[in-house]
């Protein structure tokens, strides 16, 4: 802050030159303030990766679909409960891990920004949960049926989206662009090998969903351990069959899920993996060794299913940083990136609600038990 002129200064009238110099100084101060604000807002650095650029990349890869999530756009709402069994209460003070029942609002979805893409076996499937313990301590988590994530930074994710943008001529991604991306991202090459080698199950019900990102559990004594978690199905694993690949029902995976939930509740064990010192927490492309301690922390039960057009999951942002005391973020940079971009996606679609087209899996389809 500039010092106030002293009283001598006040007495002496300023010469024209000094007035100009002082006006210029004021101009410089104001410009510097405005420039700093613009710089922090990203307007002066067009190459910086921002939330807007990330959303634009999603839309260039998956198209622009008003009112839908910018990723995992095709989905189905479910409700049920999470029943903690107390096994994880020693490593996390989170309310959800105490013995007891907590209602949940969940969502099953397919990765990608296309809300009407036909179901296909190899498309990444996700399970998102919003668990609401009656006494507070809400927990939101989104998990995928892949063992590791394909990228380990927001920049990597952005470049992958740009490389997978469909060529306007062929309607398919340009193989050369993808090759060029992979050449610069050996971590993605290694991760994709693990992702492609995963056994693909017949549907949503018998898939295992992994947190991919690492977090930290903190117990009542304040001790903190790195963790990852997974929802492991109690439904018996059946491999996807070749017949599914030629299924004329574009929603066959969702229809199967609807039919199974309406037959009987589906259940997953929430299994927490405790990391050891040295296990990578900041790189979601790297798996942890198999011999790590696993804690069966509770049971996810899903007993009701709704179309997104009627379900309460539609307006939930499954922000991975909505965590209760007892679960904390790790140093994984994807957590901040996911939280930031999900928030932007949520804001956009909340504002577009009135322009949203019906979801691919309709209320009538759910009503009819998953038949069309």
């Amino acid at each position: 802050m500039n010092e106030a002129p002293d009283s001598n200064d006040k007495a002496a009238p300023l010469s024209g030159t000094r007035v100009l110099a002082r006006l210029a100084l004021i101009g410089v101060v104001l410009l510097a303030a405005a420039g700093a604000f613009a710089y922090v807002g990203g307007w002066l650095s067009p190459s910086r990766l921002t939330q807007d650029r990330m959303i634009a990349a999603f839309q260039s890869a998956g198209g622009e679909h008003l009112g839908f999530r910018r990723n995992h756009a095709k989905g189905l709402c479910v409700t049920g409960w999470f029943e903690g069994n107390g096994n994880a209460a020693g490593v996390s003070k989170a309310a959800v891990f105490a013995a007891g029942r907590n209602p949940l609002i969940g969502r099953f979805a397919l990765a990608g920004g296309m809300p009407s893409q036909p179901d296909a076996p190899a498309t990444v499937r996700s399970m998102a949960l919003r668990i609401l313990p009656p006494g507070g301590g809400e927990w939101r988590t989104g998990m995928n049926n892949i063992p590791v994530f394909a990228v380990n930074t927001a920049q990597g994710f952005y470049e992958q989206l740009v490389a997978s943008k469909p060529d306007p001529a062929s309607g398919k991604p340009n193989p050369a662009a993808m090759q060029e991306f992979l050449a610069r991202h050996p971590e993605t090459v290694r991760a994709l090998a693990l992702i492609r080698a995963r056994p693909i199950s017949s549907g949503f019900a018998d898939s295992t969903y992994n947190s991919l990102d690492a977090f930290r559990f903190v117990n009542a004594a304040g001790a903190s351990v790195p963790v990852r978690w997974a929802a492991v199905p109690l439904q018996e694993f059946a491999p996807e069959s070749g017949a599914q690949q030629v299924n004329p029902d574009k929603n066959y995976l969702f229809d199967d899920l609807i039919a199974r939930i309406q037959r009987q509740p589906l259940q997953w064990r929430l299994v927490v993996t405790i990391g050891q010192p040295g296990d990578p927490t900041s790189d979601a492309t790297l798996p942890w060794p198999d011999d790590r301690q696993h804690i069966y922390a509770g049971l996810v039960s899903i007993d009701r299913v709704f179309s997104e057009d009627q379900g309460s999951c539609t307006d939930v942002n499954y922000d991975p940083l909505v965590l209760p005391p007892g679960i904390e973020p790790s140093d994984d940079p994807l957590l901040s990136a996911r939280s930031a971009v999900y928030a932007r996606s949520f804001t956009l679609r909340a504002g577009e609600k009135r322009s949203k087209a019906p979801s691919a899996v309709t209320a009538a389809e759910v009503q009819a038990g998953g038949t069309r």
Partner: protein, 175 residues
């Protein structure tokens, strides 16, 4: 002959500079947060929420203080349009100091997100869950932030004009 205004009382000056630092920090945190996908994002959010609550509480303290400690009169020599501009910009600054935190609190309520201040200390929701309302309030929070920054620039420019060009004691009354 212009009447030389007296200084603001010490408590008013302290509140002013403390809130100036806080509000500027909030504006820069906010504009940075809304662009960021970096690891800084979650730390920025974690500071933005409790600091916003502190601004709201201090704005109330300041308004009460203003009733007990009215600001010194502006110099008689000040042209009427500048008096009106000064009055209007101060009303706007006060209004935005209340509105910005309330909009932030309200939009998080409507989303709904848990409104975490620190650890398990949460604020209750002040609006019903409504995504359309959330989207509207979220946009307003951005628009008013730009407005607040613009008014801040006018305020800073006017303060420097008083301090460096007019040298009429208005700048000195706050330092």
């Amino acid at each position: 002959m212009s009447l030389r205004p007296t200084r603001f009382p010490a408590v008013s000056r302290r509140l002013h500079w403390l809130m100036a630092a806080m509000v500027l920090t909030m504006l820069f945190l906010g504009v940075g947060m809304a662009a960021s996908v970096s690891e800084r994002y979650r730390f920025l959010v974690a500071i933005h929420r409790p600091l916003g609550l502190a601004v709201l509480l201090l704005a109330a303290v300041r308004l009460v203080n203003r009733l007990f400690n009215p600001p010194p009169a502006l110099p008689d020599a000040l042209p009427p349009w500048q008096r009106i501009a000064a009055k209007a910009s101060h009303v706007l600054l006060y209004a935005l100091m209340f509105l910005m935190p309330l909009l932030g609190w309200g939009m998080l309520s409507a989303a709904p997100y848990p409104i975490v201040i620190y650890g398990s200390l949460h604020l209750p929701a002040i609006l019903p869950r409504d995504p359309t309302l959330y989207a509207w309030l979220r946009q307003l929070h951005t628009d008013f932030a730009y407005l607040l920054f613009a008014v801040f620039l006018v305020h800073l420019g006017a303060a420097l004009m008083h301090g460096l060009i007019r040298r009429d004691g208005v700048f000195k009354s706050m330092v």
